[in-house]
Amino acid sequence: MLEADLVILGAGAAGMAAARTAADNGLSVVLLDEQRQPGGQIYRNVGKAGAERLKLLGSDYAAGKPLVDALTHPAITHLATAIAWQIDVKSGIACSIDGRASRVVGRRYLLATGAIERPMPLPGWTLPGVMTAGAAQILLKQSAIVCTDAVLVGSGPLLYLVAAQMARAGSPPLAIVETQTRRDLLAAMRHGLGALRGWRYLAKGIVLLSEVRRAGIKRHVAATDIAIDGKEMAEAVSFTAGGKQYRIECSTVLLHHGVVPNNSAARSVGILHEWNRRQRCFVSRRDEWGRTNVAELFVAGDGSAIGGANAAVISGRLAALEIARELGVISLTERDRKAVSLNASLNCELAARPFLDRAYPPFAAAVLPADGTIICRCEEVTAGEIRRFAGLGCIGPNQAKAFSRAGMGPCQGRYCGLAVTELLAHANRLTQDETGYYRIRPPLKPVTLGELAAIADDTSN
């Protein structure tokens, strides 16, 4: 058993920043993370990436290195390859490292579990060769591996970044098939003035787009009827755009239409979530310091609500300051003094979000997929089955789970949960809040009986 003032789950942007701020203010910190290297997904492996890889991935990626370096502090213990499978405020976080289970107990806990790609159920999305755009980036960051004949599909600035990175690696994607429309852009213009405060993001987008154009990457916009063709693996992407039908042969299809909070851990301890219409996902209920309805438990970063890496860093630092105040190591005045500049930059960081969210909405046909499309990858449950259960009086996802096994596979609903909520809400004419989400229970990750038995010994010691 390990003890600390603050136990942080997730060594991404928010978790790393929180760890250092907490340590600087006199707290002992244990930082738990599944990966071998700190960085989370956005800064995955940044501490180990060489100059060539840093150049290829760009300055926004390299910006994570100081956060990783800052973890070298006597008060911070970074536990790598720690798979957390149970969170309990009293008995601590149960986790396994190399198959050995133990508990980490804190006076406060911060969940900084980051984002996952918004599930994008399309016909054929379970075929080998179909991955998330984020996965392609992880291959670059972690392994310096690039996909050589990929088509990017979906919406959002990340697609331009991935395309540019692939082009820099000498393997530009064959095409970007984009789902957002001109109408989305016009509607987003309403947020134009607000976005001006976040002009850096818009400027970056324009630079990326021109890089995509210079690389000769073909963009198709307002695409509909998107399907991935293939029998044993992805062979082509077919779609309609501008009144014409297309079929692009490729062996890799990279999907992305935004990211959503990875909130399994938060849900498992009863942190309340509410539907955010603009982000079209559930976000955790919290105050400006990340304090939740569960005493001693805080949230920060994209695991709580989507704000991007820089906003995650700030929210992590704010949570650390408030935790330091609660534990009596800094005064209220000191906390507020340190928070002033953080809050000012947070406003700037978030200014462009309403524009981006409106300009790049999720692809409608993947939010409410056609009947034949698989929505639960693990148990191979289709959208049609969920609609049929709604017709039988099924109101919420937990009922649908019992009916269909959707959400019962090893991913535990991470990649079908939102689709099930949306399908049921739509079919039953209820809101997403009324429909709710899967009840998430431990273990959060598959765990062996041996590990469970070992944890009992660990607790009794």
Binding site: R36, P128, G129, M131, T132, G134, L139, T148, R377, P446
Partner: protein, 101 residues
């Protein structure tokens, strides 16, 4: 057995070690990410689903989707969370106990 991979390494390789996947021998980069190295080696199905035996390959590469579940020396694990080690024996997870925890 080795298909031409649509994935390409950008940097010079480190030490290559022997890994057996589904009975075939591969030379993979020691210490590399197992899921990534299997993709680069041209594997087109890392597992088959329990429900319909449909082929799958890694999807999220970040430990969330569990589509890269493999059996390593008899233990079902996520390939994207494992480092390549010499003489690893990797196979598709058993059909009935596919990590349904």
């Amino acid at each position: 057995m080795k298909a031409v991979s649509p994935f390409r390494h950008l940097e010079e390789g480190d030490v290559l070690v022997r890994v057996v996947f589904e009975g075939s021998e591969y030379r993979l980069r020691k210490g590399g990410n197992l899921a990534a190295e299997l993709l680069a080696a041209g594997i087109v199905a890392i597992r088959k689903t329990v429900v319909s035996a449909a082929p799958r390959n890694p999807y999220c590469m970040m430990g969330a989707c569990h589509d890269c579940l493999v059996s390593i020396d008899g233990v079902t694990r996520q390939a994207c969370m494992v480092e390549v080690q010499e003489d690893m024996t990797v196979s598709m997870p058993p059909q009935r106990e596919n990590g349904n925890a």
